[in-house]
Symmetry: C4
Subunit: 235 residues, 4 copies
Amino acid sequence: MSRSLPRRVVAEFLGTGFLVAAVVGSGIMGERLAGGNVALALLANTVATGAALAALILAFGPISGAHLNPVVSLLAAFEGGLPGRETIPYVFGQFLGGACGTLAAHLMFGLPVISPSTHARSGPAQVFSEFVATFGLICVIGGASRQSTQAVAAAVGAYITAAYWFTASTSFANPAVTLARCISNTFAGIRPGDVPWFIVAQFAGGGAAALLFHWLGASPQTHAEKVRLDPGRGQ
Amino acid sequence: MSRSLPRRVVAEFLGTGFLVAAVVGSGIMGERLAGGNVALALLANTVATGAALAALILAFGPISGAHLNPVVSLLAAFEGGLPGRETIPYVFGQFLGGACGTLAAHLMFGLPVISPSTHARSGPAQVFSEFVATFGLICVIGGASRQSTQAVAAAVGAYITAAYWFTASTSFANPAVTLARCISNTFAGIRPGDVPWFIVAQFAGGGAAALLFHWLGASPQTHAEKVRLDPGRGQ
Amino acid sequence: MSRSLPRRVVAEFLGTGFLVAAVVGSGIMGERLAGGNVALALLANTVATGAALAALILAFGPISGAHLNPVVSLLAAFEGGLPGRETIPYVFGQFLGGACGTLAAHLMFGLPVISPSTHARSGPAQVFSEFVATFGLICVIGGASRQSTQAVAAAVGAYITAAYWFTASTSFANPAVTLARCISNTFAGIRPGDVPWFIVAQFAGGGAAALLFHWLGASPQTHAEKVRLDPGRGQ
Amino acid sequence: MSRSLPRRVVAEFLGTGFLVAAVVGSGIMGERLAGGNVALALLANTVATGAALAALILAFGPISGAHLNPVVSLLAAFEGGLPGRETIPYVFGQFLGGACGTLAAHLMFGLPVISPSTHARSGPAQVFSEFVATFGLICVIGGASRQSTQAVAAAVGAYITAAYWFTASTSFANPAVTLARCISNTFAGIRPGDVPWFIVAQFAGGGAAALLFHWLGASPQTHAEKVRLDPGRGQ
């Protein structure tokens, strides 16, 4: 983890970009091919997203920690794993990467590069779903990051695969991904007006999980943060 | 494993809660989207459950052993891996967590918090299925727990993924999950009157597997129990 | 691997029994629920079989090597990894376990315990498919068994998941499984008269792969066999 | 990695052959069974391809590095991991293996051994998709190969699983696989005239990723190349 901040921010940019491209792109492909069967479209979307997450965490985990999520980076900063002055660049890289991921998906499928979504995702059940989804995500990261990058990759990929189906919101659980999805009027889109509540619920759920894991004695540091503190066991 | 009992019981509560939320929630979502194709709904339910199990064992295994199942905790107590006086709290946490998982799933999907299931699952073929399902589960845990938390997570997630399809009961194999599913009148529900036979079959199947593994020379201790006995190789 | 032969044979019996129960049972469930869509039924069958294999190898690998396949045991005997006098018991346990797996699946789904299959699987394309399927399986075992039980479990589960779809025969690749499937007149069945050619092709494909890997310098020993020769690195 | 060049080239031949057989064969099977539902056919194709990749990298990684892709071998040669004089044999083995994989798939499904594809895959969106797909693949290999063969197998299998859905071209990302698919007039085929642009985009995307990872401080060496440089930690 002796890599310079710009290198790590580029890794966060790329990782979040590919994550959003996977979410948006596989939604487009799934809807196009599924012939109106939404379960089949969401299954394709799920398989692609879970697999992409696992691959991207294996790829970028050793470089930047593969947060790929502003909730994770902010919690890392609170826990002392990410220096405070690096938090803004990390989060900036994630938001910019997410937006570029949507653009790339649109270009690959021959769509206008930006189109505001009209997909309504509102109401208390949706917002509660995002709270639960992000609470669970931070619990899973908190537990698995004590083990290895491989464990985090498997656990996060598997968790999101499940959460796409067990939450009513299909588990965005990530502010950078949420914002990036509001500029895509496709299967994975979200109406811009619904974004703020999603993001509030995500930070609330993540923060609650972090407090809980702090008490459980397994603080939700990511693997990369431990590497920083203990360079000798990076891999 | 030097964590206090309350911390470990909370971990069992959370883990079982998320497991049941995944089972019940993905059943609701699967049925809603599948347009009447039960195979597709069950496939979504399967993928979500197997992935959730793998993620939750990776997350909570290092904290409480991630039993998430009263059969596992009781067998651990018999084998000496879990102190007898801790068995009741573990099992209590699992049953309470399971029920809260159902409530959370209902809230996320905008349903009444509790509704008794009318889904009949009775007859000798169903009960025999639960015996086989739990027998296999305890064999898999018995074998994989000699290796690592990662092996248990992969093996249990994969086993339940398979058992959803190869048993006629879709493999509940867990008394806490079974009870929690009788208060959900959804895809994953079970009629309250059918619960007792399921639970009897689960303990019988689990007990038979434990006896067998005892003889095979690989007693069905969970990884967490070994950690307790041998703190030096926790991870 | 200091376990007695009866213990290891019981492990082979159980492992092969659960494997066949997974193949036959998930075929029945898949066909019942898929509403006539064969692709969906086979997808369920595939997911269940691949996941079962991974779980069973993780569970029984440390006990008996988890051959679960007469081709693997015979090649192990040729390579010197399995003592010659233990080969017959291993193979006997596998064939008996496979047959019991079919019976168990039938009981779980309320079908007659035995019913000869009428599912025709004949012709050169089918037989060539079995040659290719088993050739690939032994290559994968030959390569992955140099690493760990976890690698074998992942590689074999993934390989069979793929081979269900890329071979015209859906990749039986296992004489014990083939024989056990001829007494099940269900989705996964095979007409008894077609069994001999399948088994010949399986041994031919496996033998060819073993010769090749011998030359490649990576003989297709299973992990368990190495453990036998080198007890110090069992896990 | 002290194995002779012919042995390693045969491993590349076999691995690429099985990879293409999996891609083409599962496409044929998926289309035959899916009853016109393209999403279901592509899902089967995806599951088979991703699983085959993971299995083949686990099997052949310890022998030849399991490049299975001319882009990977050429980048390895530039990075100094693969001796320049071995590059041509590696790439030759991959192209020949890929073609034989198509022939094997056709034989298994009773089709003419060669039939030029009429499946049009052209236009800037398709070509850009191949650039993105290969860029991501080389990033994933670059990151995961710092860890272990197991990490590369999991990451590459998962990445291609995702990329089949998030790129408009279904992510060929491999010149040997692309050429092999132009002689198959089936689900996975590509019109011969569209091949050159795909291959140009693949090398461009791979090269760009290699430059980027060079800067990031994690050069896209494959695991096998590191083994070559540092024999002591091969497996």
